[in-house]
Amino acid sequence: MILLDIFTFFGRFHPLIVHLPIGFILLAIIFASLSHYKRYVFLSRAVPFTLLIGFVSAVTASMLGYMLSLTGDYDGLTLKNHMLGAISLTLLTGILLGIETSVFKKLISIPRRMFSVLSIAAFLLVVYTGHQGANLTHGKDYISMETLFRRPREKPLKAEDAMIFEDVVHPILEDRCMQCHQRSKRKGQLSMESLASILKGGKHGPAVVPGSLAESELFRRITLDAGHEDFMPAEGKTPLTKSQTEIIRWWIEKAMAVEQKKISEITGHQHAVPLVAFLLGLDSHSIGDVQGFAEHEINANIPSGIDMDLVENLRMKGMTVRVMFHKPVMLDVTLPSRSGIKIQDLTNELKPLAMNIVWLNLSDNGLTERDLAILKDMANLQKLRLEKNPISDGISDYLAGLKYLEAVNLNETKITNSCLDSLQQNHAIKRIYVWRTEAARSLLQRQENQSL
């Protein structure tokens, strides 16, 4: 293994050294060609020496190239062509050198034309071998007609219009993975050129399995501890950022690893929009250094910025206010139980924040529904606690229009069945707590009757 490591070390000088024979051989050919003209006849004397250093450097470059090839990171066929080209070129340079040296010249005279033909062959070999070498390092499409005519993808203006694979995921992979995982390099036999090749995978099976994070080798490796042997990108290259891994997670898990699909066509895309906007640099109301994923659909109706003095005012009035989220500002507001504070006295403070309150707890404060008109303004409310208040059935009117209300706690209030019936009209409500109410008792009765 040590031997191989030494080979690798020297092998890596190949890309440096390889430019010497290219330069010298071309220079020799140029000198030889120019020497046909009278003005430059004197150059012919420089040809043998230039060919000599061209030959020596070609031999060195070939040996280093062979060492580099032992690392096994390169595509077989291109490598073979490159090697064959290089060896032929070296030999040809040797022959040219031989023809040009004075010792040889004295023995046999070779027609000048012959030398020219061989020179042209050498020139073509330089081009061919060089091109194969470039293909090895940069990929086959590095120089191609496609590159010339390909139009860069137009940058989408809205996150919703972006293509999930083409605009979002693939550019990340291109940037972070394709240096090693591409058609002609294929480390671990994996190429990330296209979705098909990603799904096909490499040595360790498919890189991505639509819908299954656990089976997606790619995802496993980019989310390992950076110190782990299998971690990717390998060899200390910069790991993917959290937002990048998050969008890949979403693409695999929720978007079933599709391509040619707009974000807006994928179900549940609302979750991904802020992240996509961030990755594409499109977010106007920035989520800044996005660290996690918007697990919840963030309700866009919640005002994003508020005056924190308003929150302070509410606290001064005796309410407990917890900031649940910063962008947009989501508030969890609690009126301490048996506070003796009248809701009406808080209206001025609550009104400007009403759209930001997502959790509200007014339990055990002697309230009736008549005190709660303010609830109608809290359009973004998700969780509401009203337990232990003398509230009766009229409360359902106040809650009917709350589109985001998920859970209502009406334990130990005076509500009856009819309140439950009307609350069920609001389909947003998923959980209603009615412990120790008339409604609970009649529900129980209803169940018993049914079982009889």
């Binding site: 996690g292 697990e295 302070e312 606290r315 649940m324 989220f325 609690t334 859970a407 706690n409």
Partner: protein
């Protein structure tokens, strides 16, 4: 000491003069030579006493600690409070939740080396000539809509199994109690780091200024074979206001709440005000932030005089509640009574309530021992779930049940037809969570047929901690505290949120 040499500036600000006087050369040398440590602490801890409630006042604070706290919550929190039922000693997974029917075939046989795979054993069983495998004496049945296997020793928990998310693939690196429990509670096997509750207090502050943010209850009706120590709920290097406050296990959870005869509230308040003045003088002279913490603690104690009696007095609980929590619940300080107390504290928005129940360390006589442990805790645990659920508190309360490690598949000591013991086993064990943000009626992770190794979805202690923080709205990688030139965090440099168990 001042960099300002403008005489006008000096003469016109008496505060600055005062400061200069205090820090003249002589005083400076005296102080630094006497208390280099205090000075160091001063510079490190300075200014972190600002509570979450007042963040808006200091928008442009230059203090980096402020920035760390200001970014919280990093995520939309699912849970507002936590109750952590710590089963200290290491409850056996075999007799509770991790059903291993295949083991019957291997009863009494030596544990194959291919399974143990060179795993270290404790000194207690390493010298055994045979490691005879012991199947569970307790029978298992499927329960609930989720059809989850639960042992017959936990009949009440089985009734609420559809609320639970059972994780069968926890693992830890520690093999003995002290490091294992310290690891679970503080994120490090060595003592000295802040506990989970104090991290949460530091990160999120309080939702009820009249009660401590972090309260600890220890069952009195449990064998005390393995000790608990206050550092498990300690503040480590965080300001001392964040440490857990332990309530006593008895009739008076907090002593001296009542004023002595001839001494009333106003006099006490006056006394505290004077005391506070003295403390502030001291603070002005020494700038030790722990003095501010002390002032805060005195003020908290004063508020607790009025808030605690109402919180701990269970006389207003109806009979039905005591029946629900079981026979022990009328005996203050018992696990069941602590469960009721925990619920009452959660109702008052105490953010982190930690219960400890010791005695799960069954090296020998396991069948009898674990039966007793289950009997003492099962009904009250299930009742706590039921009670929180019907009150709507499971909406935003996270309940956690678990110990510090698991137990071995083989018997420590002799395996007889009706008796065996189990040694410590860090490679796999079971915990459950329930409530806010967690999937219900769900099992996660799998162990092999021997219950020895994890074969699916391993969950490390740090992963559990990361998930707990996540549910509280904290990105565990960003809740840090700078100390000794390093950014410390609860999960050290590890931990991944277990997304698969999130609702």
């Amino acid at each position: 000491m001042s960099h300002h040499h403008d005489p006008e500036f000096r003469s016109e600000s008496p505060g600055l003069n005062e400061f200069n006087k205090k820090l003249d050369r002589r005083n400076f040398l005296v102080k630094t030579s006497l208390g280099l440590g205090a000075l160091a602490a001063g510079s490190l801890l300075h200014g972190k006493t600002c509570s979450r409630q007042t963040i808006s006042e200091s928008e442009t604070s230059p203090d980096p600690e402020e920035d760390i706290l200001k970014a919280i919550p990093h995520l939309i929190p699912k849970a507002k409070r936590v109750v952590y039922l710590f089963m200290s000693g290491g409850p056996s997974q075999f007799e509770t939740f991790d059903y291993k029917p295949e083991l019957m075939r291997f009863a009494g046989k030596d544990l194959p080396n291919s399974v143990r795979n060179g795993q270290r054993l404790t000194g207690m069983s390493a010298s055994q000539s045979i490691l005879p495998m012991a199947p569970s004496f307790a029978k298992f049945n499927k329960h609930g809509q989720s059809q989850t296997w639960v042992s017959e020793l936990l009949p009440h928990t089985a009734q609420v199994v559809d609320e639970l998310c059972i994780v069968k693939s926890l693992y830890t690196e520690a093999i003995n109690h002290d490091p294992a429990i310290t690891f679970f509670q503080t994120g490090n096997q060595l003592p000295g780091r802040p506990s989970i509750g104090s991290w949460i207090s530091y990160g999120l502050g309080s939702d009820n200024a009249n009660l401590p943010t972090f309260i600890v209850l220890v069952s009195k009706n449990a064998p005390k074979d393995q000790p608990l120590y206050a550092r498990l709920w300690g503040n480590g290097f965080l300001p001392s206001r964040h440490q857990g406050v332990q309530f006593r296990s008895g009739k008076d959870p907090v002593l001296f709440l009542n004023d002595p005869e001839g001494y009333d509230g106003p006099s006490r308040k006056e006394m505290l005000e004077y005391l506070s003045k003295l403390n502030r003088l001291q603070n002005d002279a020494y700038h030790d932030p722990e003095i501010e913490n002390r002032i805060a603690q005195y003020e908290m104690a004063f508020r607790m005089q009025t808030s605690v009696p109402g919180a701990v007095d269970v006389s207003d609980e109806p009979e039905e509640v005591f029946d629900l929590y079981g026979p022990g619940s009328r005996d203050p300080g018992s696990y069941a009574a602590n469960c009721i107390l925990a619920r009452r504290l959660l109702e008052k928005d105490v953010k982190f309530v930690q219960l400890y129940h010791q005695g799960w360390d069954q090296h020998g006589g396991l069948p009898r021992g674990i039966s007793r442990q289950c009997k003492d805790t099962d009904q009250a645990t299930a009742a706590l779930i039921t009670d929180l659920k019907r009150r709507g508190l499971l909406e935003d309360t996270l309940v956690i049940w678990g110990g510090e490690f698991g137990r071995t598949v083989y018997s420590q000591g002799k395996l007889t037809s009706d008796d065996y013991g189990r040694d410590h086993h860090p490679r796999c064990f079971t915990m459950w969570m329930a409530g806010a943000g967690i999937k219900s009626g769900f099992s996660f992770g799998e162990t092999d047929d021997f219950g020895y190794n994890i074969i699916k979805h391993p969950v490390h202690v740090h992963d559990f901690q990361a998930t707990l923080m996540y549910l509280m709205g904290i990105d565990h990688e960003r809740l840090v505290y700078r100390l000794q030139g390093r950014r410390f965090r609860l999960t050290d440099v590890h931990g991944k949120v277990i997304r698969e168990i999130l609702a």
